[in-house]
């Protein structure tokens, strides 16, 4: 038995510590600890509901749009505001742009370095690299130039952010040429995520932390001219996703096909749903609401009233097992002890079960719900990987990654429709973007999705001020510690059974952690 | 039952004029200030601010010259007399003010019936009037602190220090806002008391420089 500790887990949002017990080269037990507490909910109390839209985005600088939207939706539910259809389209497009941004950044900047050996790219043959790119159907770049850049860099002896990476690790499997392609696209991805973020900036002022989706609608007023700039950028990113991102995924996947056999997790999946259609019915969202329990491939309806947050293993002395609408958050650090309390993350449970959230949950729900585009995307991908008709294979480390990347393309295509609708609405001249309200009391929840998973904001407003505020973030679901009954959280569970080649450098565990986009 | 005579010697013409200037400036500052604060009226912000600045400078000059003049101009140091002395003496503690403060307060709170023996200005009055001077200059300072940062004045540090002292320009804005309310409240009480203590006599003299004989002479 050996304990391997990864602290800090890098290439994530925030702060995380992961501890695994390894026996015979396989993970037997795991503890995931969120190591930062900032007290957002307490800060918001007593302020105006619109202030929560701004401040609560600062929970996460990678998915601020989703927090902003969930917060605003909670306020709107509490104050009985129905936003106009124009605002719905604007919000969908902003949210979609964040998804593109986030998934691209996640795959290339955060996760790829677990699979791609940057140093090995130095030995790639340039002609072979072009041939490989063509065969894989992925876009080419000036590979020679990229290789030269890495060479200058490595020979300079100062590796900057690549210092002490897992270069030459036995679990690195890609041929040198594919490594080089991936590095070239790593650099391109930095441009693409920025381009996606520009769409948010054009509609929301800036990214991260946008300014416009206030309770009531949006402060941004589209014009045909402004929409032109958005359409242009959307097209570039969408094409890049289709012609580079997806082919890269399919080219790399076969080398890591054994990752389809572990990292399954708890088998329960939750999606609150994202991207409203004109009916505002969560079951009709582009990514619909639903849940899957015990790995059984059927969609059930989640009831938010059945959510409870446990704090037996987290550093809080506020009461346990509360529904977030009545939630309390009071910090009390004791000590780091995996047998007792070991995290700043609470343990949310739905129907007393841990729930995995994220693109895999959303795509599974959408697939089983029969959303046509999602169905065809997944089915063709399964066929391409030689596992046609076996969607259950998605419940794995590899599946989690594939689901996220396929979702990127799906959302990109949907965005094109919303932009088209918005252009038509603006041309028609009838579009409305803001509903005024003078209501000052009420309670409500905003149940939505961040790129990394299900997100809920819960607000209670009295006399125009926030009386109570709670947020249950995707990380709270996925990174949850054990609950009162000692049941592991989804990421902890997913780590069980993972092979570890080198306990000193538990790269495989890191891959599973990263697959959740924590 | 008596009103003292209100003779011109009590308020020489120059002071009557300056009192007018004070009134107009303060009213104009409060109004233009409200426009700047809340932009209630769709009038030009630049215009409102220009009025605000101009009136502030006029007020500052007016108050400063009023202080200087008080050392030169002679006026009566009692109502009901034409005997004059240097004005500044009216602003320093006088023997009639002794033990007057509390009793005056009592009188206005209906805790005593008789009015208090007083100099031209009672103790309470003096304190209130004198306080308007620092308040006005304080308002000038806070106003400049709000406006100044962009101007890159050489003396900017003088205001920057104040801003960091109160904890930011927003706090300064609030202080300036409440300062205005202090001035408004002062003016309300001031106008009321002048009215209640003999509307015609006081207002006639201070606004129109019209004399009114004392009540005894009238009977």
């Amino acid at each position: 038995m050996a304990r391997a500790v990864i602290d800090p887990v890098t290439r994530i949002e925030g702060h995380l510590r992961v501890e695994v017990e390894v026996e015979g080269g396989v993970v037997k037990d795991a503890w995931v600890s969120g190591t930062l507490y900032r007290g957002m909910e307490t800060v918001l109390e007593g302020r105006a509901p619109a202030d929560a839209f701004y401040v609560s985005q600062r929970i996460c600088g990678v998915c601020p749009i989703s927090h902003g939207h969930a917060s605003t939706m909670a306020s709107e539910a509490a104050l009985g505001i129905q936003i106009p259809d124009g605002a719905r389209l604007v919000r969908n497009i902003i949210e979609g742009a964040e998804t593109l941004h986030s998934h691209i950044l996640w795959f290339y900047t955060l996760t790829a370095l677990d699979y791609v050996d940057v140093v090995s790219a130095l030995s790639a043959n340039i002609a072979d690299t072009y041939a490989l790119a063509e065969k894989a159907g992925t876009s080419t770049a000036d590979f020679g130039q990229v290789q030269k850049r890495i060479k200058t860099f490595v020979e300079g002896g100062q590796l900057s952010i690549f210092t002490n990476g897992y270069w030459g690790h036995p679990a690195m499997k890609l041929p040198a040429e594919l490594n080089l392609i991936a590095v070239a696209h790593y650099l391109e991805a930095l441009e693409m995520q920025a381009e996606a973020a520009q769409i948010i900036a054009l509609m929301g002022g800036k990214f991260p932390h946008f300014m416009t989706s206030l309770p009531g609608g949006t402060a941004w007023m589209p014009t045909e001219e402004k929409l032109g700039g958005i359409l242009f950028r959307w097209k570039r990113v969408r094409d890049w996703v289709a012609n580079t991102f997806i082919p890269d995924t399919l080219a790399i996947a076969p080398f890591y096909i054994e990752a389809a056999t572990y990292g399954k997790g708890c088998g329960n999946f939750l999606s609150w749903g994202c991207f409203d259609d004109a009916s505002f019915d969560p079951k009709k969202r582009a990514l619909p609401r639903g849940m899957i329990v015990g790995g059984k491939l059927e969609v059930l309806e989640p009831d938010v009233a059945q959510v409870k947050e446990y704090v037996e293993h987290a550093w809080y002395d506020s009461p346990s097992a509360l529904n977030p609408a009545q939630g309390k958050t009071h910090a009390k650090f004791t000590s780091y002890d995996t047998n007792d309390r070991y995290s700043w993350v609470k343990a949310p449970r739905l129907n007393e079960l841990p729930m995995e959230v994220g693109p895999l949950s959303r795509m599974l729900v959408a697939y089983l719900d029969g959303v046509p585009q999602v169905k065809s995307l997944i089915d063709t991908t399964l066929a391409a990987l030689g596992v046609a008709g076996k969607p259950e294979i998605l419940v794995s480390l590899l599946g989690r990654i594939a689901a996220r990347n396929l979702e990127t393309l799906y959302v990109a295509d949907e965005m094109g429709k919303w932009i088209g609708e918005l252009v038509a609405a603006v041309k028609g001249g009838e579009a409305k973007f803001f509903t005024e309200s003078t209501a000052t009391d009420g309670e409500g929840a905003g149940l939505w999705e961040a790129p990394r998973g299900a997100l809920g904001h819960f607000i209670s407003v009295k006399g125009g001020k926030i009386a109570n505020y709670q947020a249950v973030t995707p990380s709270t679901w996925d990174l949850s510690p054990r609950d009162a009954a000692g049941v592991r959280g989804p990421m902890e569970e997913a780590l069980i059974g993972a092979p570890i080649a080198d306990v000193e450098k538990p790269l495989e565990a890191l891959r599973i952690v990263h697959s959740f986009d924590p | 039952m008596s009103h003292e005579g209100h003779y011109r010697e009590a308020h020489p013409l120059i002071f009557v004029f300056q009192h007018w200037v004070n009134l107009i400036c303060m009213a104009g500052l409060a109004f233009s200030g409200f426009v700047i604060h809340g932009s209630f009226y769709a009038i030009s912000m630049g215009g409102a601010r220009m009025i605000h600045f101009t009136l502030m400078f006029v007020l500052a000059v007016n108050i400063t010259s009023r202080i200087i003049l008080s050392f030169w101009v002679k006026d009566a140091n009692q109502l009901g007399t034409r005997e004059v002395d240097t004005d500044i003496k009216n602003w320093l503690p006088q023997k009639e003010n002794k033990h007057q403060l509390l009793e005056t307060a009592k009188y206005y709170l209906f805790m005593r019936k008789e009015r208090v023996i007083s100099a031209k200005y009672g103790a309470l009055q003096k304190i209130a009037y004198l306080a308007t001077v620092p308040i006005t200059f304080f308002m000038g300072y806070t106003g400049f602190a709000l406006y100044g940062p962009a101007q890159q004045w050489p003396v900017w540090g003088f205001f920057a220090g104040g801003i960091s002292l109160v904890g930011g320009i927003m706090t300064m804005r609030i202080i300036h806002y409440f300062g205005m309310w202090v001035v408004i409240l002062f003016t309300m009480v001031h106008a009321y008391l002048a009215a209640i203590d003999g509307f015609k006599a006081f207002y006639g003299l201070i606004f129109l420089w019209r004399e009114s004989p004392g009540a005894e002479e009238g009977h």
Binding site: V43, M221 | S39, Y41, Y192
Partner: protein, 379 residues
């Protein structure tokens, strides 16, 4: 030392096909943003010819949302890849570094040991629960900061959180958030110069500007190059209010305001003052530098500035859609009106009493001072 560091940069740029001419142009644009004249550009370029070491840097994540890192990834020219590969050797940066856990900590320890690095700090210093509201590698965030800060050549606090605690320290500050500067004495690094770059998140162009100053103008040896104000902010970036450079300023002067979101006034780009814009008291050059590679900025998108570059910005600027913050939980306008109303009511009552008691017609004046009578004096 700086000279030597500077030397390699030109080669590195040349290696990736950036011509000398492009490079000069690029220096010129940054220099222009910094308010230096284009004349300085050739001198800057001359300083980097040769070939040697990159300036080492450590990027420390404290109590953060990662928004400032995200924002840095939006830098345009140079972009983030140029910064981390060609301009600096960022040996530790949790969010994007390849290594994790022990290997990551090792890279940091080595850089600290060698000294001479720039320490970039993102996020709030977490002091709550004995510093345990943030734990990294089994230590508290404060311990980690102390280690990294004491041997740094300079500290750049990026984002409002690192500058003064940001939103985390807003009332009631449940997690004990503080700014880097606030703990410098306590943690013993008060001798190390601190450069503050507020706003939430930080604008990447400012980081680039500071980095360029360090590399090209030797700001580490001569801090005066950065022209910092009393709060440690570069004056050229934080010297003027947003209001002064706002494209909507003309409408402000004309008294043309957006009074409600979603109205035709916004289509006409009227001023946002009435819906709470904090531009008049916020000191940043957002309207000039803009955001996301100059795509837009807050006011341009129709949203009032919320003053995220102010000190203690949440307490000072919320409610964000109102002109002024609450005082003791109440609107200042309400306090003023209530005071005025109460005074008017008081005076009215007093007036009624004065008339009904006959006092208004003239009250008797005492013959001798009540006080003196009591004392038996003043015969």
């Amino acid at each position: 030392m700086a000279q030597e560091m500077r030397e390699g940069i030109y080669d590195l740029l040349a290696a990736r096909g950036v011509s000398r001419r492009d490079f000069l142009k690029y220096c010129g644009s940054v220099a222009a943003m910094l308010g230096l004249s284009e004349m300085a550009a050739p001198q800057i370029a001359a300083a980097v010819e040769g070939g040697a070491k990159l300036q080492p840097a450590v990027w420390l994540d404290l109590g953060l949302c990662t928004g400032c890192t995200e924002s840095t990834a939006q830098a345009g020219n140079p972009n983030v890849a140029d910064i981390v590969l060609d301009l600096l050797s960022i040996n530790y940066m949790e969010t994007i570094m390849a290594a994790a856990g022990d290997q990551a900590e090792e890279a940091k320890a080595k850089t600290i040991e060698e000294g001479g690095y720039i320490l970039i700090v993102e996020g709030t210093v977490m002091t709550g629960e004995g510093g345990n509201t943030l734990r990294i590698a089994g230590k508290t965030g404060m311990e980690v900061l102390k280690e990294a800060a004491s041997k740094a050549a300079a500290i750049v606090a990026v984002g409002s959180c690192a500058v003064d605690g940001g939103w985390v320290r807003a009332n009631p500050n449940p997690a004990g958030g503080k700014g880097v500067k606030d703990v410098a004495v306590e943690l013993g690094f008060d001798k190390v110069p601190i450069i503050n770059l507020p706003t939430c998140p930080v604008n990447p162009e400012w980081i680039v500007a500071v980095v360029i100053d360090v590399l090209m103008l030797g700001a580490l040896e001569n801090l005066a190059v950065l022209n910092l104000d009393e709060l440690g902010r570069p004056k050229l970036i934080f010297g003027q209010t947003i209001h002064d450079n706002c494209p909507r300023r003309g409408h402000f002067e004309n008294g043309e305001f957006v009074k409600q979101f979603g109205t035709v006034e916004e289509v006409k780009q009227f001023c946002l003052y009435e819906v709470g814009c904090k531009g008049p008291q916020t000191f940043t050059n957002c309207p000039k530098v803009r955001w996301n590679r100059k795509a837009s900025w807050c006011v341009e998108s129709g949203a009032p500035c919320i003053g995220c570059g102010n000190l203690n910005w949440v307490d000072n600027d919320a409610p964000f859609l109102k002109r002024m913050p609450n005082v003791g939980g109440v609107r200042p306008e309400t306090i003023g009106t209530v005071l005025g109303g109460a005074a008017a009511a008081g005076l009215l009552v007093h007036g009624v009493a004065s008339f009904s008691s006959g006092r208004a017609k003239g009250a008797p004046v005492e013959t001798s001072k009540a006080y003196d009578k009591k004392k038996g004096g003043d015969k």
